[in-house]
């Protein structure tokens, strides 16, 4: 009963939907979750979670630079992510085995740069907020001026996925098969990394650079445990991501009341919901594997079809 009344009071919290920062958070957070969910499914299917995580971390250097120069933070995250993606792809050369190595090298260099820029942020602007904002986000402090660029970035990422859908799927299944079908496998790999950079830049302005991995991988991993098709998994990951983001915003906004004014960080609330969704998704998947392993399943299907 208390939980229901908590939710209702949260929903009808005076001002929750008329406050501009909250509205900005709802729009950009929701958009970032959709893009991260869709892109994340491909990232997990391609086994590139580490690359996704590295891009997110490295983009923090761009966020720190934007802070220093007073630029749009999304632009900073985006540019740094794109540079890192191009760097990883060119270092990875031709061998799959070298991919993690290239990723690790770029990650190390990027985080070093990030350390320098954050240090400069903190010393020159004499605020300690920069590091927290860049790394862990500040959902309710986003300037509304971010919205147009965010929509453009999110829209182009989704468009790219729709356009490259089949070559991406085929090359994630097996690069040789894709090559024989005439798919330029390396170019497709680069496009995927760029789209990941777009997705993590979007979530970096909301939940922060470090936690954007959670938004990229968590909903996708949960959705892949449940969905039967790649398209279905993308849709489900987007739904889980949006639900977690909006739920997290709601709880965080509400927590100002029960914590006596300082409240819980939105990022914490969102990531916790994603983690719980992943745990919850584990149960039906285990049931499905058992069902698939049962002998005679194929026979039943064949009979049903014939």
């Amino acid at each position: 009963m208390t939980r229901v009344s908590l939710l209702l009071s949260a929903l009808f919290e005076p001002g929750w939907n008329s406050s501009e920062p909250v509205l900005t958070a709802v729009v950009i957070g929701g958009g970032a979750a959709v893009v991260s969910g869709v892109v994340g499914v491909l990232t997990v299917m391609r086994g590139q979670s580490f690359a996704g995580h590295a891009l997110a971390d490295v983009s923090s250097a761009g966020g720190a630079a934007a802070f220093l120069l007073g630029l749009n933070p999304l632009l900073g995250f985006l540019l740094m992510g794109v540079i890192a993606a191009a760097g990883m792809e060119s270092f990875a050369a031709h061998r799959i085995r070298e991919r993690d190595l290239a990723t690790g090298v770029v990650l190390g260099a990027g985080l070093g740069l990030s350390a320098l820029l954050l240090y400069l942020d903190v010393t020159s602007k004499s605020t300690t907020g920069a590091a927290i904002t860049v790394m862990f986000g500040s959902m309710f402090a986003m300037p509304p001026s971010v919205v147009p660029l965010a929509l453009a970035v999110g829209g182009s990422a989704l468009l790219a996925i729709a356009l490259l859908y089949r070559p991406l799927l085929l090359s994630s299944l097996d690069p040789a098969l894709a090559r024989v079908r005439g798919v330029p496998v390396r170019l497709i790999g680069l496009c995927h990394l760029l789209v990941v950079a777009f997705a993590v830049a979007l979530s970096a302005v909301t939940v922060g650079a470090i936690l954007s991995t959670a938004l990229l991988i968590g909903p996708a991993a949960a959705a892949l445990r449940i969905a039967g098709r790649p398209g279905g998994a993308m849709l489900l990951a987007a739904v889980i991501g949006v639900a977690a983001t909006w739920g997290g915003i709601l709880i965080a906004y509400d927590s100002y009341d029960w914590t006596g004014g300082h409240g819980w960080p939105v990022s914490f609330c969102i990531v916790t919901i994603i983690f719980l969704a992943y745990l919850a998704a584990g149960c039906p998947a285990r049931g499905k594997v058992r069902a698939a392993a049962r002998p005679g399943k194929a026979g039943v299907q064949a009979a049903g079809r014939g």
Binding site: L163, Y165, R166, L173, A176, G182, R229, P230, A292, Q301
Partner: protein, 273 residues
Amino acid sequence: MRGESEVLAVQRLSVSLSGRRILDEVDFALHGGEFCGLIGANGSGKTTLLRTILGFVTPTSGRVVIDGGHRLAQIGYVPQKIVLDPAIPMRTRDLVGLGLDGHRLGLPLARRARRRLVDAMLEAVGATSFAEQRVGELSGGEQQRALIAHALIRRPRLLLLDEPLANLDIKSIATTVSLLRRLALEYRMTVLLSTHDMNPLLPAMDRIVYLANGRAATGRTEDVVRGEVLSRLFGEHVDVIRVHGRILVIAAGAGNGASADLERHPDHVVQVP
């Protein structure tokens, strides 16, 4: 079959990888509808030859001519090893569909014509019963049939298969070979199939490319699998014996380094000390 046009011509092809010569002046041609076995021990260069035919490896000299010129449009390929993750939500049907239009841009439309094509292909390789199953959950033989359907759905003139019989049980080996023989006839398609044991192919194979020491003995099966031809290829005396419809190649080892010899011989070669 000799009357049919040339589908694949490999002309004095030499390939070096990291400075080591893997293929040395390999030369053969395949015509429409021919079923050719590419035989050789592990490391003899079978995969390298197939990848060169596909254009993935650049030869040091010689060339590959595909009838019609457009290489990839005419070739279906079943790679040697493919690890399909059971966690990937893709069904056999999706894999076969991607063989049709996996290179196309844009979202796939659920057209009825596409579905009919995929259904027919699944039926042709006997994959209908596991069409809705995830590809990562298939058995070795089922996965092989799914990959063959993926490779064939565009009706290529030439089908390359890299060790499709490895890791299959004896019964699946026989069904796969007869399936491929039937499809080759039905689609008037040329098949080049690599294996390290030629015996399962004997009922189907009308031509052979036998690789050893970087060189190839090529021709009709009965012309190549002969003592003097293989002796010249191996660079040591061997006898070819036919027993119970199988072929055994007996290498009367020179006594020096017999175990090393075993390493470089295919499965049907028996070493006699």
